[in-house]
């Protein structure tokens, strides 16, 4: 027991004396949270919208004001000619333009049929679609506000709500993804490298020719990274809650247990890799290529799994992060309980058992 304790303390020395490991451990989560939370957001905010108000009348002005008051647009009122607008689009100076035609007020109140022209840059379909939706919604609101309630009763008014994320906070999606990614890196890559380094430097020879049980080397390597991963988990959650205002809807305890399970799976993966290789580079390459890439692609937090061809969806089932991501989303964002995530949890449990038994079975008590 004392041997194990001293061994674990040694592992912590290794971690805290290596700047690169420290950077991966605590720099990476911070950078990823900031990147995904702020920079790499797919939310559409602050779009430059040019309004050319040809009518220059009351209703035209009111509509412009309403657009301006929304958080989605940076409205610039510019009296541009159609050719000027086109050249501005071509130069990429504007992404969207709304033209309010002459006689807009008169058309609206007397003829009861008014038209607006909205131009968007179709070469960026995501932005175009969003602009279209936003402008539509604002115009609908505007229309309702201008009309006496009794005059026309709309037949169907779709009432859209973004469930579990009423504000459309894009960070919400990324937090579980970043969690999965970071834990995967810390547990799998760092653990496998830590074991393989002993082989590379030759210290494994001395460790083997000692009374210390060979399998305990794996335990002693896994425990520090388990602790560090949990610290990381807490760190990411704190960043998510206080920096990105992502709420934790469900039970923190359940979230913790799911995470513990995923850490176990990732650690087993790391130990398995360390068994199979003898050089740190190879171990790192396998963990990065073999696990990071699938984690990013097949988890669903960047590319929706539903859009993938069937074979890829099958493959995605083999990626532990996919199950973790699904479970964390359910608990953290939807506030679901154990009854709704037991499936994901049992998959992770099964993966851990399979990986660990292969690792222990294949662990070499000698050099070759």
């Amino acid at each position: 027991m004392k041997q194990l304790f001293v061994f674990i303390r040694k592992e912590f020395y290794h971690v805290f004396r290596d700047r690169r490991t420290l950077l991966i451990l605590f720099g990476l989560p911070l950078v990823q949270i900031l990147l995904f939370g702020y920079a790499l957001t797919s939310e559409v905010k602050n779009i430059d919208l040019v309004v050319t108000n040809v009518s220059n009348d009351v209703l035209g002005q009111r509509l412009t004001n309403q657009l301006r008051s929304s958080a989605f647009f940076n409205v610039q009122e510019q009296p541009l000619s159609p050719t000027q607008i086109e050249s501005a689009f071509k130069k990429g100076q504007i992404k969207a333009a709304l033209i309010i035609p002459a006689g807009f007020s008169a058309d609206f109140t007397k003829a009861r049929h008014a038209t607006l022209q909205l131009l968007t840059d179709g070469s960026e379909p995501n932005i175009s679609k969003t602009v279209l939706q936003y402008v539509n919604a604002i115009v609908q609101d505007f229309q309702r506000a201008q009309q006496p309630v009794t005059s026309i009763s709309p037949v169907i008014t779709p009432e859209v709500r973004l469930l579990y994320n009423e504000e459309g906070n894009g960070s919400i999606n990324y937090v579980p993804g970043v969690l999965a990614l970071i834990l995967m890196i810390v547990c799998t890559a760092l653990t496998s490298v830590a074991v393989v380094r002993e082989k590379e430097t030759g210290t494994m020879e001395i460790l083997l020719v000692s009374p210390f049980k060979p399998v305990m080397v794996l335990v002693a390597k896994a425990i520090p990274f388990l602790i560090l991963s949990l610290a990381n988990f807490a760190f990411i959650l704190l960043l998510a809650v206080y920096l990105l205002q992502v709420p934790i809807a469900g039970s923190l305890l359940l979230l913790f247990i799911i995470t513990l399970l995923f850490i176990a799976t990732s650690l087993s993966f790391g130990l398995l890799i360390s068994n199979a290789t003898n050089s740190q580079q190879v171990a790192l390459l396998i963990s990065m290529m073999g696990l990071m890439l699938p984690t990013i692609i097949f988890t669903g937090f960047i590319f929706p799994l539903e859009n993938m061809p069937l074979p890829f969806r099958w493959i995605s089932n083999l990626v532990p992060a996919k199950w973790y991501y699904a479970a964390v989303r359910s608990v953290m964002l939807k506030g679901l309980g154990l009854a709704d995530v037991w499936k994901e949890m049992s998959v992770l449990c099964g993966m851990t058992i399979v990986l660990l038994s292969i690792t222990v079975k294949r662990f070499k008590i000698r050099l070759a």
Binding site: K2, Q3, V6, F7, K10, Y13, H14, R17, D18, T201, G202, T203, E205, I206, L207, L208, V209, S210, P211, F212, I365, R366, L367, A368
Partner: protein, 335 residues
């Protein structure tokens, strides 16, 4: 003047359960090959190391020294043959062996990012002991690196690294110590100091198996095994090995050493001729005691200037070279 000398074949038919206790290391007909049998690292290696002996395994790089060490320290399995360390079978009782031996691998294998003190404490604990328990054993060695106990092991000089590694291998007072090329990459002074430390450890009753590619270090061992291409050429005390050199050995030099080498090699009287430092070492086919004069005459006939020829006592390296080429040259009566 071929000296009668019998090269004892090691006849080791020791049954596994009756291993002599006064023979801490026994290797019996060990063979090991790598890459699915294509590279033979050891072929039929047998040797015995007696209790309290400082035994040297002498041979060039790639001779199979490290493979033999790894088999004896239970790190590798032999393809054929058996071995016992401290009376334990290296395959069946590997756990007991791992508890009783000290092992210093060929490469510096300590934690470079841990300090001297931390390395020592770690290995002491790993072996279920403390630095204090057997401090007497390492005191003389450790005193030399003590001023640097807070320095990271990676920042030590080669000689100090080696002393630290030796301390770590000794910290649990092993009965048998395996040192795989401990003096490789270490300066001359540290190397001499190191051999003196080994002599002291021997006094404490520790059996030591040490390997080295440096032939001149062989004389510091009680007995040595000369090994090449995975085969043991000879096992004996260094003095008896050099003493058994069967012919007269001459050292010759001249103004142009290279042409002298070529000329001597083309002379049908010469049995062997090789460069040895600034000298050529020469043996003759039919040596009737006047070899010096013969070589001098021959060199003069070839118009060599400043010719010096001496009769010298063979070194371990001369013996090794003769043994290594023994399929063409006789060595003792065993061939």
């Amino acid at each position: 003047m071929v000296k009668p000398y019998s090269m004892k074949k090691n006849n080791l038919h020791t049954p596994p359960d009756a291993v002599p206790a006064d023979t801490p290391i026994i290797a019996a007909h060990l063979s090991k090959s790598y890459n699915k049998g294509t590279v033979a690292a050891l072929s039929d290696v047998s040797l015995e190391v007696k209790k309290g002996e400082l035994f040297g395994l002498i041979g060039p790089d790639g001779a199979g020294k490290t493979t033999l060490f790894r088999i004896l320290t239970t790190l590798l399995l032999a393809d054929e043959g058996q071995a016992w360390v401290s009376g334990y079978d290296v395959v069946k009782n590997f756990k007991q062996i791992r508890r009783t031996v000290g092992y210093m691998p060929g490469k510096f294998s300590l934690y470079q990012d841990l300090t001297v003190q931390e390395n020592l404490t770690f290995f002491a604990t790993l072996f279920g002991t403390s630095v204090e328990t057997h401090y007497e054993l390492i005191k003389d060695i450790y005193d030399q690196i003590k001023p640097f106990s807070d320095r990271r092991a990676g920042k030590l000089s080669g000689g100090m690294k080696q002393k630290l590694a030796l301390c770590c291998a000794l910290i649990h007072k092993p009965a048998v110590l395996f040192l795989d090329e401990p003096t490789t990459g270490v300066d001359v002074v540290s190397r001499r100091e190191f051999w003196e430390m080994l002599q002291q450890l021997k006094q404490q009753g520790i059996t030591i198996l040490v390997s080295t590619p440096y032939m001149e270090e062989a004389v510091r061992c009680d007995r040595i095994a000369l090994i090449q291409n995975g085969r043991i050429l000879h096992v004996d005390t260094p003095s008896r090995i050099t003493g058994a050199f069967p012919v007269n050995l001459y050292a010759a030099k001249a103004a142009s050493i290279y042409t002298l080498l070529k000329d001597l090699r083309s002379w049908n009287q010469v049995e062997s001729c090789y460069a040895f430092g600034e000298w050529l070492h020469v043996t003759l086919r039919q040596d009737t005691g006047n070899g010096q004069a013969l070589i001098r005459e021959y060199a003069a006939s070839r118009a060599h200037a400043q010719v010096v020829v001496q009769t010298i006592a063979p070194t371990i390296e001369d013996s090794f070279i003769r043994l290594a080429t023994s399929n063409t040259l006789p060595y003792g009566s065993g061939h």
